[in-house]
């Protein structure tokens, strides 16, 4: 038993489990589960999956799969370029749990490190694009383009303007996603050259790409001038390395600039994960999508970073949100930011100059061999046209050499060079173009470029000191460590965030992500080179189908919210296929995640809210009434199960039946799947489609705010509609268009979930579900005498998470949920989820990976904090100047000469003795949120501000 992965993944030891069952007063684990999950929805059989593997055995297995992938030199482009991840960044960021395990930085005080790095990312993007503000990254270039489209649409004065002019020369996968996102909102796309297209009053914006799909540079200024004269806005898709060399789109008048930051040090990973960027003008920032990091100050006036302008987001604004986006790609944005910090502006220019020179020399040498290169201007991409036979034989020669180019048609070959190509690679490429000719010769390396003078960049970028001082490995290693040290990840302590499932991200699951057989694979290589990936996808799809009880799975959606959007489109396609395209109403319970209504709005649906009763359960009578009222236009119910309140509602089957009886489908939000695996399933409760947050239940780390993955599973009747892709065959026979840039989303991190399912096996995953519920009920049993627990099932049990109600204490003492959250930082903990799903509460989810000892330490902290609140209630502590209101306490404050508080420094910093052995010091005190939103700064402050 001791060397099974299951025993490594689970926190409580066998002896602990007996003790914990005694505390929760259950005779056995099985009896406890019987009190939690309604009997009628329990699975009759165990999961039909293999037993788990050891870590060593899994790696042996995966080495065989990896060997089925053939890593070639890919010069395909399409927004993805091989890159050199500096080893110091690979080891200290990408492969470091200090960077990949933290959560999205909602709790700013314990997230200053990654907030600073994300601010570096924003500064880098703003500088390179020539825009005023950038966000902290989006999922991929195609969805970033769709967000740009939506922003232009929102900002246009006339709601009747519903047409966007799209340059025909944009990447095909971007085109696909623009189309899928435009249609539900009633927008029309007109594919015309924006330099000559007619701009009528119906046009709200333009989407153009430079360098374009062929690799040519586009003169943006005339396009921007024409569009602006007609009252339309302009979005530009671009490329960061190219932007070091060309006039930034912002200078030409662009309103929004998007693209993929992947080639700044993030491995290809067969399509992801990477950070897309999104930059715009300051005046549009309140309408912009995604996370935005801003500068504020703490309670002592020290500079502090935080997520700004959260009111734009779905968790507050719901169906009126600017987007359904929850997550960014924080880990990947941080890698790209460190890449820029490490190379600095001169290093980046040198890389760009080398790529440009190689490209120009290749163009010359290939022309001498009779190849017609058609791009008059270019940075790293050449487009050659020839007759079909010539191109075909070139392709054969290239693939025999292990070199991939792009073949947009049978008469065209495109070559996109990148920083990994050396002189020998370049000579190999030329040899392929030269064929039998023995005389092909490259010019000497120099300063050639395909960027003509008027396009060349003269403006400075990355002038901020942070990009100009960490250029030795020692310096960047220490800078990375300095930032990491400010944050709490799972390597520091339990992260008890409810609804987030902060479980172990095992090293054995993580390591293969950076194996070159997986990491260096371009997303659009020939299928035969990716046989290992394909096998892994197939097996993971099958496993997820068994777990959900569904017939088919799509691995494409890049986040839970995107899974929702994809699932809703699949439902709409199904209705339309039956001549019922008029079904557009989504029933959504009051208690739903904010993403649900935001996604429904994006899918062009109207949202009807279903009430919840006093116990937090869906009001079945209200559901019945509303389903009946909408029997002619009901599309679906979106339901989270177990509910966002952490309870298995026992009438779930009845609810699904009501919806089906009125012609609707049931979309299950899989956020709480960690309470279902192996014990019940979405299909078993009566749902038709669900998404799975692989970054919750299936062990993908949260990355400090992304990546994530949100595959969807569907019942048989919906399988034909699963999403396809413009360049690669995926999905069903009646596939909806792609929702992500890459066919399998962030393919490389699917390995993590694959490893999780293989190493735990069916029995291990089921045991994980049971232990997750034991841990939650253990916390309930130990803490409910101190804090009231909101909502429980009929037998007094919670599922895998629980809600502590701080409102009665607040009414008595003025101490609120935020004070408790911040005080937990002084005890070395990340705060629980604050005020979701119920304002004035804290939601805690321990997961199965936390050991009993850590749960006890958390209980000790919560009980000690309860006593601190009691002191305020009793009048023995000052109602304003107390350990809670002043939390968290920094080392600087606790060591200051002056100490004016009525409590001791010891009570501030070391309220329980264990902290003397191991203490986390928050780097800043309470961050001033209103100050940050009233004085918005979202780039690195000038150096004077550091004085």
């Amino acid at each position: 038993m001791s060397d099974t992965f299951t025993s490594r993944h689970l926190g409580p030891r066998p002896d602990d489990i007996a003790d914990m069952l005694a505390v929760v007063k259950a005779p056995s684990l099985e009896a406890l589960i019987g009190e939690i999950i309604p009997a009628d929805i329990r699975l009759a059989q165990p999961l039909r999956l293999d037993a788990g593997e050891t870590e060593h055995g899994y790696h042996q297995h995966l080495r065989r799969i990896a060997a089925e992938n053939r890593v070639c030199r890919s010069y395909i482009g399409l927004g993805y370029h091989d890159t050199i991840t500096p080893p110091v960044i690979q080891r200290n960021v990408f492969e470091n749990p200090g960077w990949y395990t933290p959560y999205t930085p909602y709790q700013a005080e314990i997230a200053q490190g990654r907030l600073e790095s994300l601010l570096n990312f924003q500064t880098m993007v703003s500088d390179l694009t020539g825009m005023e503000v950038a966000n902290a990254s989006l999922l991929d270039e195609a969805t970033a383009a769709a967000e740009a489209m939506a922003l232009m649409f929102r900002l246009h004065k006339s709601a009747a303007a519903k047409t966007m002019i799209v340059s025909p020369k944009i990447f095909p996968h971007v085109k696909d996603v623009l189309m899928v996102r435009a249609r539900p909102l009633g927008m029309a796309l007109r594919f015309e050259d924006p330099a000559t297209a007619a701009f009528g009053p119906e046009v709200f914006g333009v989407y153009v790409q430079s360098p374009d799909d062929h690799g040519a540079l586009v003169d943006l200024k005339p396009i921007c001038d024409r569009a602006h004269a007609a009252g339309a806005m302009v979005s530009v898709g671009s490329d960061l390395l190219t932007l070091t060399a060309i006039v930034p789109p912002g200078d030409a008048g662009a309103d929004i600039v998007v693209g993929n930051a992947q080639r700044f040090g993030v491995p290809l990973g067969y399509g992801g994960p990477h950070a897309a960027f999104f930059a715009t003008r300051e005046s549009f920032v309140r309408q912009a999508p995604g996370r935005i990091i801003g500068v504020s100050q703490d309670s002592k006036g020290r500079r502090a970073y935080r997520m700004a302008l959260q009111t734009r987001e779905q968790h507050i604004r719901r169906e009126k949100a600017t987007s359904n986006i929850c997550t960014a790609q924080a880990l990947l944005a941080n890698i790209s930011a460190f890449y820029a910090v490490y190379h600095g502006p001169d290093g980046l220019k040198a890389i760009a100059a080398r790529v440009a020179d190689q490209t120009a020399r290749l163009a010359e040498a290939a022309a001498a061999e009779g190849w017609e290169q058609v791009n008059a201007t270019y940075f790293d991409t050449l487009r050659f046209e020839g007759d079909a036979a010539k191109v075909a034989s070139l392709r054969v020669a290239a693939e025999a050499q292990g070199i991939n180019f792009r073949y947009p048609s049978e008469r065209v070959v495109q070559v996109s060079l990148n920083e990994t190509a050396n002189e020998a690679d370049l000579a190999d490429v030329l040899r392929i173009f030269a064929g039998a000719s023995q005389h092909a010769k490259l010019g000497e390396p120099g300063q050639r470029t395909g960027v003509p003078a008027p396009f060349r960049r003269s403006s400075a970028f990355l002038t901020h000191p942070v990009f100009n001082k960490h250029h030795s490995e020692t310096e960047i290693m220490r800078y990375i460590r300095h930032l990491e040290h400010k944050d709490i990840g799972l390597d520091t302590a339990m992260i008890p965030l409810g609804s987030c499932t902060m479980k172990l991200n095992a090293a054995a699951e993580m390591m293969p992500v950076t194996w070159p057989e997986f990491s260096r694979m371009h997303p659009f290589v020939p299928d035969s080179q990716a046989a290992g990936y394909r096998r892994m996808f197939m097996e993971l799809e099958e496993t997820l189908a068994v777990i959900t009880g569904f017939a088919a799975v799509s691995l494409q959606p890049n986040s839970g919210a995107q899974g929702e959007f994809a699932g809703l489109l699949v439902i709409q396609a199904y209705h339309a296929s039956r001549g019922q395209g008029g079904r557009r109403v989504a029933l959504i319970p009051q208690s739903a995640h904010g993403t649900n209504p935001a996604s429904a709005a994006m899918a062009g649906m109207s949202v009807v809210i279903v009430a919840c009763d006093d116990q937090g359960n869906i009001d079945v009578a209200d559901l019945q009434t509303k389903a009946k009222a909408h029997r002619d236009d009901l599309s679906c119910l979106m339901v989270t199960y177990p509910s966002t309140h952490g309870v298995f509602e026992d009438r779930i089957r009845e609810m699904c039946e009501i919806v089906h009886a009125h012609g609707g489908q049931v979309y299950m939000d899989g956020a709480n799947m960690n309470a279902q695996v192996g014990l019940t399933s979405p299909a078993n409760i009566g749902a038709d489609v669900c998404h799975l947050n692989l970054h919750k239940t299936f062990a993908i780390p949260h990355g400090g705010g992304g990546p994530g993955m949100g595959p969807i599973g569907v019942a048989k009747h919906l399988a034909p509609f699963l999403p396809g892709h413009a360049l690669v065959k995926t999905g069903g026979p009646a596939a909806i268009q792609a929702v992500s840039a890459a066919p399998w989303g962030s393919a490389s991190i699917l390995l993590i979930s694959y490893g999780y399912t293989r190493m735990l096996g069916g029995a291990g995953m089921t045991e994980a579900t049971r232990i997750a519920m034991l841990n939650a009920n253990y916390l309930k049993a130990r803490l409910e005498a101190h804090y009231p627990v909101l909502y429980a099932g009929k037998q007094g049990r919670v599922a895998h998470e629980l809600i502590f109600d701080l409102r009665p204490l607040k009414a008595k003492t003025g101490i609120d949920e935020t004070d408790v959250a911040k005080r937990l930082m002084d005890y070395g903990f990340h705060a629980p989820t604050v005020s979701f799903p119920v304002p004035g509460t804290l939601m805690v989810e321990p997961t199965e990976s936390e050991p009993k000892e850590e749960l006890d330490r958390f209980c000790q902290a919560m009980i000690a904090i309860r006593a601190e609140i009691q002191a305020v209630a009793d009048g023995t502590a000052d109602p304003k100047d107390n350990v809670l209101k002043n939390a968290p306490h920094t080392a600087e404050d606790c060591c200051a000469t002056e100490w004016t508080h009525p409590y001791s420094r010891e009570n501030a910093a070391f309220p329980v003795p264990e902290l003397r052995h191991h203490k986390y010091w928050p780097p800043v005190s309470r961050v001033d949120n209103p100050f940050g939103d009233r004085n918005l700064i979202c780039a690195c402050p000038p150096i004077e501000a550091y004085a």
Binding site: R286, T311, I316, R317, S835, D933
Partner: protein
Amino acid sequence: MYPTDLKYTKDHEWVRFDGGEAAVGITDFAQRQLGDVVFVELPEVGRQLKQHEVFGTIESVKAVSELFSPVSGEVVAVNGDLGNHPERVNNAAHETWMIKVRPSVASEADALLDSAAYTELTK
């Protein structure tokens, strides 16, 4: 007790009738519910509003709320100071007007709440 020279709505706006104009803001109760106000979005001068129509939004760090016009009429002035000083809504809610409207339907004022009725509503 709320100022007696103001009228109120159930949506927590106040209105002060002065000459031919009605100044509109949100009540002290509303600003306390919202918390620290960070942004107020207001309409352009000249816009025609119907009673109860949304004329803008107000944002705090954690919440966003729509603003409803207590009366019908044309917007004749907008408080530009709120762009740089949204905190004034917190500091002096009843002195901080957001828009001024020239009311077009005199009878609408009769249906608004007086100080006593609004105090009752917010108990």
